[in-house]
Symmetry: C2
Subunit: 149 residues, 2 copies
DNA sequence: GCATTAATATAGCAATTGCTATGTTAGGAC
DNA sequence: GTCCTAACATAGCAATTGCTATATTAATGC
């Protein structure tokens, strides 16, 4: 057997390895819910109302896709739909939105502090935010804080 | 209307906003393919062979799930299945694996350089790696390099 | 060389997240 | 008040990614 010039880092044990993938799959399932709740909160704050059409336009999906998703969020107790009055967040929804928004804000600020351009920071943070543990988020926060002094 | 104490950052234009979500959805579609190809490459390097059972064990999914996915990767020209001999990467598969593995390595090193613990760095990098643009990856690489001098 | 077993393949199902097409209805213009 | 329109709801479909149950087959031990 030929040996590699640069010795390869051996794989971790399967039982340890699998945890990363499980965690990542769990995060992926939560992503969409988090995106919706965060966006509804943003629209309510910024525009005073959150309509299906505006949500669809910003997410880049069709309106019935949004309708179906909101039904699920409503049955999960995160939003309340007032017909023809738009979407509102329950207390639970508000709490989730606030956590998600803060995390997103930190991740985006962190990328900017690292020197990433505005556009890449916006796009990358949208994907990264859902996969950041509390430990990493805290490190990001401290990094931004240090740069702002 | 009551005014917020801390003035809220206004939302970007919908046409700009939607780009982040579109990009993130595209990344999500590529994630699984990247995970498989990277893992197959790791197993080939580390163990000399990549069996469905080992892939399934490490990803935390059932063997038929892996079989179905490998069929797709084979039809995409990324892997070759030699029955009862395991999985092998095509040239295209190798090229993808090498890109993905390098990106993963940089992201994980970056988190470690930031002071994140081993376990969180392993788990977070598994989720983050798929959402890092070239620009951000380069910034991560430079950060690690600077710390290693 | 044959039986056993471990590896793989296949069938059939479910949940999720998207879509288009099309109904239904609340609110505002007149 | 009635009509129109924009907002929303619903039906039905497709792709993806997971599952369990079960069949098939290559390798290997004896």
């Amino acid at each position: 057997m030929a040996r590699k010039a640069k010795l390869p880092k051996p794989l971790v044990d399967p039982e340890i390895h699998v945890e990363s993938f499980r965690q990542t799959r769990n995060n992926r399932r939560a992503e969409i819910v988090e995106d919706y709740v965060e966006l509804v909160d943003d629209l309510l704050t910024d525009a005073g109302e959150a309509r299906q059409i505006d949500i669809a336009k910003r997410l880049g999906v069709a309106q019935p896709t949004v309708a179906k998703m909101l039904k699920r969020l409503a049955s999960d107790g995160l939003v309340v739909q007032r017909p023809y009055r738009g979407i509102f967040l329950t207390e639970e929804g508000k709490a989730l939105a606030s956590r998600v928004r803060e995390r997103h804000r930190i991740v985006e600020s962190f990328l900017r502090a690292l020197g990433i351009g505005e556009e890449s920071a916006r796009i990358d943070s949208e994907g990264i935010e859902h996969h950041v543990s509390d430990e990493t988020l805290e490190a990001f926060r401290k990094f931004v804080e240090a740069r702002n002094q």
